[in-house]
Structure formats: structure tokens, C-alpha cells
């Protein structure tokens, strides 16, 4: 592990130690499980964001994509709104819809050459529109027992959601490390121009990455829907910036080609631990955001410190 890689895990460790000293409740097993559970959705969403960041692009569409997916899954599984009961197929459709929205972002980037910042912002608005259409005035409540059990069921002490997140992170890590898609995503972030010289058409891979990111958001939305017990338009609202922050804090750089899924997952844990710990040690709700922001900045600064040199470009 390089110096750059070591920063975020060390920061995570320090924060965990400090919080454990400050709060007896923090260091209970129950709380550890709770943190893992709370990190589950963000971890899955961040898997998607990470791949987009590896490309050197940015993805602001999580909010909209998750909203659309959440409502679609809520009305397709057994629910309080209609008589549909597609079960696992409903979940699949929701994830596919999310992937399709991601695909649209990617296509717009590749075909129209519009920066991802804008395409994903636009797609987010479109997703929210779709969600509002499906919502149609009343929240569809999820009745489907198997989907509900995602949030409540436990295996070896961890909720199913946590396990899903673990599996997602492993899959994403595998994709990043062992598949052409993952390595090419890395390569596109490293030197996009070069790939063309090697006869690789980057367009399809970019679209695939955005599509995969969409799928992760869709799965994240299904998880949120299971947690909340109904389809919410706003279910993804907080995840856009949270996932980007988590990825960057973990060492996945915005310029692309650096970091990866495991880095980002460390970032997710760091943020979740902070949110949880600040509540437990009783920091006033007004200043929690500020304290969290400061710690993030300090963590990144400290992690970056050993690499500092003159003429280094930081955007």
C-alpha cells in the first residue's frame, strides 16, 4: 500500500479511536452493527459513483435515478397502491430502469460531448420527474414481505442490507480489478487519448460505466425503499453529494484514474462513523454539518500532506 492509500484508513482509525474514547455507547457491538447497516446504502451508491469518478467524470444523478427507481419498485412489488406483485422481477425492472437512466447520461456524454456534470444533472431532474409521475399523490407502501425483510432480516448479526452492500463492494472491486470494463475505466481516467491510439473505442466503455453506476443507484434505491417501507421521491436526495464526498475522502480522485472501490468504501465508513459518532457524543444538531465538513477537509489535507510538492496541480 502506498503512502497515498494509507491516509484515509489511518484517518478512519483515528476517528474511531477518538470517538470510542469519547462515547461508551459508540464502542458497543450493537453500534458497530448499526454503523455497518447505516453505511449499506451509501456503500452501494458509492460503488457506482466511484466508477464514474475513475473515468474522470462526475455523476450528480443519484438523487433522480434513485427517486425514480424507488417509486417504480414500490409500485411493482406487492404494495398498498395496486394489485401488482412482481416480486423479484419488480426489483429487477427498477434496477434496469436506473441503469437505463445511467445509460442516457453516458450516451449524452459520448454522443453530444456534453460534460457529465450537466448530463447527470439533467438526468437527475428527469428521474425526479418520472418519480413524481409514478408517485401520483400517494406514497405507495411496500407490503412485499421479502423486500421488507431486506431491512429487518439478519444473518450472523448483520442485516441483509449490510450483506448486500458487502457483496456489491466485492463485485465492484472484482469488476474494477479483474474485468476489462473496470481496467479500461481506470485507463480512461488515466489517459483517455491513449486508448484511441491503442485501438480501443472509449465511448462504449464510458456508456457502460454510467450504466453500471445507474444500476448501483437503482439497487441502492431498492434498499432505501425496503428500509423506509415505501417509495419516496426524495429517497436519494442526500446520496449525490454524500457518495462523491465519500469517494473523494477515501482517495478516489476527481481527476480520474486513481483510487477505487475499496478506497471509496473506506470513505463511506469514515462519513458514516462521523455522522453516528457526532450524534452519540451529543454534538448539537446545528453544528454537526460544520464539524463534519471540517473533519473531512482536515482528513483529506492530512492524507495529502506526504505527497505535497511544488508545481503539483490540484484542481
Amino acid at each position: 500500500m502506498s503512502v497515498r492509500d494509507a491516509g484515509p484508513p489511518i484517518a478512519l482509525l483515528v476517528i474511531v479511536v477518538v470517538l470510542s474514547l469519547l462515547s461508551p455507547q459508540f464502542r458497543t457491538t450493537g453500534n458497530a452493527l448499526n454503523i455497518l447497516d447505516a453505511a449499506a446504502v451509501l456503500a452501494v451508491v458509492t460503488c457506482g459513483t466511484t466508477f464514474v469518478l475513475l473515468l474522470g467524470s462526475i455523476d450528480l444523478s443519484a438523487a433522480g435515478v434513485m427517486g425514480a427507481s424507488s417509486l417504480v419498485v414500490a409500485v411493482l412489488v406487492e404494495n398498498s397502491r395496486n394489485n401488482l406483485d412482481l416480486g423479484i422481477l419488480g426489483i429487477l425492472i427498477a434496477v434496469v430502469l436506473a441503469a437505463a437512466l445511467g445509460c442516457v447520461s453516458g450516451l449524452l456524454v459520448v454522443l453530444l460531448k456534453v460534460p457529465s456534470f450537466m448530463t447527470t444533472l439533467g438526468v437527475s431532474a428527469i428521474g425526479l420527474g418520472i418519480a413524481t409521475l409514478v408517485f401520483d399523490g400517494v406514497q405507495p407502501g411496500v407490503v412485499d414481505p421479502s423486500l421488507r425483510s431486506w431491512a429487518t432480516g439478519r444473518l450472523l448479526g448483520l442485516t441483509y442490507l449490510t450483506w448486500i452492500a458487502v457483496v456489491c463492494v466485492l463485485i465492484a472491486w472484482f469488476v474494477q480489478r479483474y474485468t476489462r470494463l473496470g481496467r479500461y475505466a481506470m485507463a480512461i481516467g488515466g489517459a483517455e487519448e491513449v486508448l484511441a491510439l491503442s485501438g480501443v473505442r472509449v465511448g462504449p466503455y464510458k456508456v457502460a460505466v454510467f450504466t453500471m453506476a445507474g444500476a448501483f443507484y437503482g439497487l441502492g434505491a431498492v434498499m432505501v425503499t425496503s428500509q423506509l417501507g415505501s417509495g419516496l421521491v426524495q429517497s436519494g436526495a442526500s446520496y449525490t453529494f454524500a457518495s462523491i464526498t465519500a469517494a473523494v475522502v477515501g482517495g478516489t480522485l476527481l481527476v480520474g484514474g486513481r483510487g477505487g472501490v475499496l478506497h471509496s468504501t473506506v470513505g463511506v465508513l469514515l462519513l458514516t462513523v462521523l455522522t453516528n459518532g457526532l450524534v452519540l457524543i451529543g454534538v448539537s444538531p446545528y453544528v454537526q454539518g460544520g464539524v463534519q465538513g471540517l473533519i473531512v477537509v482536515v482528513a483529506v489535507a492530512v492524507a495529502a500532506a506526504p505527497l505535497r510538492h511544488r508545481n503539483q496541480v490540484v484542481k
Binding site: 479483474y178 474485468t179 481506470m186 485507463a187 488515466g190 489517459a191 491503442s198 485501438g199 508545481n311
Partner: protein
């Protein structure tokens, strides 16, 4: 048109043939009916000025540039190359002028990139296979690089080797011998690395054909079996190295008599008494230490050394671009502030970086903007730009250095390399206050003509009292241009060799000190 360029009947040994290739860009005709043939087991040289169309021609051969007209034949068969993969399938591969490796991947991945074959099955990497494949390629060229090392952790020369290993992958695609294109592979290599490369080229000739491009004409004559000369997008002739010298080649390239001499001529005006301008005492940094150095006003001092000798870092350190840990530097007796380029600029130090594209020019900005970037006060009244005044100054320098550009508002990236370099040099001259010039490979990638113009400019500046520290492109250049050569090795200065116009040392004398 060429006398020998077109062969009437296709001899079986011709592997690649190009006829009447035309490629026009807005405003330029890069290729204007080029003919070319490459034979089995030969090294074919390609010479021409900057912008003659060499790279464009080669890029059409690997499918990166679609020609407007003309035909390409591979082993007598007309082909249409749509992309690099097409070309590779026909056995043509290229090492590009600018390095084209993905820095954050392993050497192995770069070597197989784009045609992974068995290294990827159903989209999934098989690292062991990939490693073996890459190792096989590296073994071919006798390189000992670890295939799983990240590319950005390799030295420049090692990366060049990776590129060559990569291009050799096309052997697997074709049963016949491949055509390997090397576009200016030597411009950034050290002499010893160049020698290694040439060994590889000669070895390649055993089973492949090689197209070789370089602006160092003696190199071309040395390694090639035949040399084509391009001028203004046309093939103007073929030269057999056996019965030609660099001068002949150059004459064909520019269409008139050459006057290449970078060895000091007679009439160099000098101050009578040498005046100390730059003094360096005990300077140390991450890559060098205990550096003592003096440069007089009007003196050109060349620093030579192999990769890792620390000379580039020293040069940057004098400009404040890398940090120093100890030492004292004065300029005209005053302490030189090394905290950053800004301070160095203000003190009258100018720096021309080696990586022109990344560190020198701002591509999309205009010639005028690039020229005034460092001396922004030029043409200003107080803090306010007076456009007329600034334009006049820029125009004067454009004609003074005969920079060939459509105009001062043209984006610098549209200029040829030599002209770009002149703009960067002019950047330090427009202020009229430069006292020390740090030139890091100022002629890298420039053609002979552009190079001699840069030489002329350097001499003229020296004549007016500017002290110059030169990191030369080749030992010949260093010896030719410098009044004194300083040899660095392992971060220290190990020797100083005087180079007066009448008593130039031989390159061999220097090499002895370097290793």
C-alpha cells in the same frame, strides 16, 4: 516529384506501399500526393522539416488518419485502414511521437492494451496469462522491466521499451513479418538509451520492416537502409545512406543549401573581462547535492549527464520550481530567491522547459498571450494593457525571430514545434530584462532548420550578455554550443570541461566522465 519513389512493378519484397496519399486540414495540406514503399527486412528512414507531414503520413498507415485520396497496399493488396486494430491485423504498428502509455496501468496491461487475446476471457482479466504475454514481449527486446510495475513508476527510457514491446505484439496478429513504425523515438532518449534502441531496431530488421523518423540526420543515416525525404507533404526523393551525408539530406528537406553548424563559429563577440553572473554554492535538493557552479555573463554552459544525474532538477531548482534544502545562489552578486518561479522571473531568470506541450505552452491560447505570459507588464500602462503597444511588441518579436504563424492571435497549438519553441523563447525576451536563461532541451523535436535558428538565437543572446545554462539534446549539441561543459553524475558535478571554439573536446571525452 520523386525519382525513385514509385516502383513500377511490385516486387515481392515490398510489404507496404503508398500511392498518391492526400490529406488536407483546414488551411494546410499535410499530405500532397505522397508515394512510399517499404520493403521486407529493411529500416526505412523518413526525414523532413517540422510540419513536412511525417507524422500524418505514418498515422494514415495505422488508421488514425483517414486520407482524402490515395491508396495503401499491404503485400500487394489494397487495404482500407479504419483504425489501429485494422492496421495491427495487417501487421502494422506504431510507436507514437508523444508517448502513448496509460500511466496508471501496469506495463503488462499497456503492452496488451487493445489486443489482449487470451489475457482476457469473457471480459475478465487473467493476470497470470497477461503477465506471461507481456514478459514474452519484454524478453524479445531484452528488457528486464517488471511487467506488473505501474507504468508511471518507470523511467522514460523504460517506458519507451514498453512501447516497443507493445508494438511488437502485432506479430501475433499476422503470419507475415510486421511493419513497425517509430516516430521520433530518440528525441527524448539519452545516448546510451539510443544505442540500446538501435540494437533493437537492427534486431527487428531480422524479421520485420521498420520505418524510422528522426530529426537527427546522422542518426537516420546511421541506422537506415534507405531514407525518404518529405517536403511540404510531398515525397521529394530517396537517399541511400551509403553515398550521402547529412548535408545532402538537409538540402533535400529544405530545398536549398544548408548551413548547419552548431559548432562555434569565429565571430562571437564577448565582453573582454568575464563577469560573474550566476554563482551556485553548495546547492542541494532531492536529486542533487553539493553543486558549485559559476556562469559568466555571455557564457553558455552546458550540463550533461545521464538520466537520474539530477541535471533537470538542478535546472528547475535554479528557477524555484523544485525545492532546495541547502546552498546559496546569487545572480549578479545578489541573492537569488528560490522560493518559486515568480521570484526567479522577477529576478530576470528565464526557463524553457523540456516538456513544451505540458509545461511550456498553453495550447489553446494565442501566440501573443503565450509570448507575454511571463512578462505581463510589457505593453502596459500601469496595470492596464495597452493593446496597440502590446501588439506592436509581439509583432516585432514574431518577425524578429521569424516565427511562422498566420498571426499573433493564432492559437499556439496550431504552430509547428519549432515555431512553438521560438514563441516560448521569446516569452523571456519581450521583457528585455533576462539575465540568465535556463534551457532544458530547447531543441527537442525540432527539425534541423528550426534547430539552427534556435542556436543562432542562443548565440545572439549570449552576445548581449545573457548567461545560459543549457541541457542539450545531444553531446554534440552541448559541445557545439557551450563555452564550458559541466558533467553531472549521481546528483553531483563530477567534471568541468572547457569548450573554447578552437579546442572542442570529443563526445567520448565527456562520456568517460558521465558514467
Amino acid at each position: 516529384m520523386s525519382a525513385e519513389g514509385v516502383v513500377a512493378q511490385r516486387s515481392p519484397s515490398v510489404v507496404l506501399e503508398v500511392r498518391g496519399l492526400v490529406k488536407a486540414y483546414p488551411g494546410v495540406t499535410a499530405l500532397d500526393g505522397v508515394d512510399l514503399e517499404v520493403r521486407q527486412n529493411e529500416v526505412l528512414g523518413l526525414a523532413g522539416e517540422n510540419g513536412a507531414g511525417k507524422s500524418t503520413l505514418l498515422k494514415t498507415l495505422v488508421g488514425l488518419v483517414r486520407p482524402d485520396a490515395g491508396e495503401i497496399y499491404v503485400r500487394g493488396q489494397r487495404v482500407r485502414l479504419r483504425n489501429v486494430v485494422d492496421a495491427a491485423n495487417h501487421g502494422i504498428g506504431m510507436v507514437f511521437q508523444e508517448q502513448s502509455l496509460v500511466p496508471n496501468l501496469t506495463a503488462a496491461e499497456n503492452i496488451v492494451l487493445g489486443c489482449e487475446g487470451p489475457a482476457i476471457r469473457r471480459g475478465v482479466y487473467r493476470w497470470a496469462t497477461m503477465r506471461a504475454l507481456a514478459q514474452e514481449q519484454l524478453d524479445k527486446i531484452g528488457s528486464t522491466i517488471d511487467p506488473l510495475a505501474r507504468t508511471d513508476s518507470l523511467t522514460f527510457a523504460e517506458r519507451q521499451m514498453v512501447e516497443i514491446a507493445k508494438v511488437l505484439r502485432i506479430e501475433q496478429r499476422t503470419h507475415n513479418s510486421p511493419v513497425i513504425i517509430l516516430d521520433e523515438p530518440t528525441s527524448v532518449l539519452e545516448p546510451s538509451e539510443i544505442e540500446t534502441l538501435f540494437e533493437q531496431v537492427r534486431r527487428l530488421r531480422e524479421f520485420a520492416s521498420v520505418i524510422f523518423v528522426s530529426h537527427r540526420l546522422d542518426e537516420v543515416l546511421d541506422v537506415c537502409d534507405r531514407v525518404y525525404v518529405l517536403r511540404g507533404g510531398q515525397s521529394v526523393g530517396e537517399v541511400r545512406p551509403a553515398d550521402a551525408v547529412a548535408g545532402d539530406l538537409h538540402r533535400m528537406m529544405i530545398g536549398s543549401e544548408s548551413h548547419e553548424d552548431h559548432y562555434h563559429g569565429s565571430a562571437v563577440t564577448r565582453d573582454e573581462t568575464p563577469r560573474e553572473r550566476l554563482t551556485v554554492r553548495g546547492l542541494a535538493g532531492a536529486a542533487f547535492r553539493d553543486v558549485d557552479l559559476d556562469v559568466h555573463a555571455g557564457e553558455i554552459v552546458a550540463v550533461v549527464g545521464v538520466h537520474g544525474s539530477g541535471r533537470e532538477e538542478l535546472c528547475k531548482a535554479l528557477f524555484g520550481a523544485v525545492a532546495t534544502t541547502a546552498g546559496e545562489v546569487t545572480l549578479d552578486g545578489e541573492r537569488l530567491d528560490l522560493t518559486g518561479p515568480r521570484a526567479a522571473c522577477a529576478a530576470g531568470v528565464g526557463y524553457v522547459p523540456a516538456e513544451r506541450k505540458v509545461e511550456g505552452m498553453v495550447g489553446p491560447m494565442s501566440v501573443a498571450d503565450n509570448m507575454t505570459l511571463a512578462k505581463q507588464r510589457v505593453g502596459c500602462a500601469g496595470p492596464v494593457i495597452v493593446p496597440k503597444r502590446q501588439n506592436d511588441i509581439v509583432d516585432k518579436w514574431i518577425s524578429r525571430l521569424s516565427i511562422r504563424t498566420p498571426g499573433r492571435r493564432t492559437a499556439i497549438q496550431r504552430l509547428s514545434g519549432g515555431n512553438q519553441q521560438k514563441v516560448i523563447l521569446a516569452r523571456w525576451l519581450v521583457g528585455g530584462d533576462v539575465r540568465l536563461l535556463l534551457l532544458d532541451h530547447p531543441t527537442r523535436g525540432l527539425d534541423v532548420g528550426a534547430r539552427s535558428e534556435v542556436y543562432r538565437l542562443m548565440r545572439e543572446l549570449a552576445g548581449t550578455g545573457v548567461a545560459t545554462l543549457l541541457l542539450a539534446d545531444s553531446l554534440e549539441e552541448a559541445i557545439g554550443m557551450a563555452d564550458r561543459v559541466v558533467v553531472m553524475s549521481d546528483g553531483r558535478i563530477v567534471a568541468e570541461v572547457p569548450c573554447p571554439p578552437d579546442r572542442k573536446p570529443s563526445p567520448l571525452d565527456l562520456v568517460k566522465e558521465m558514467v
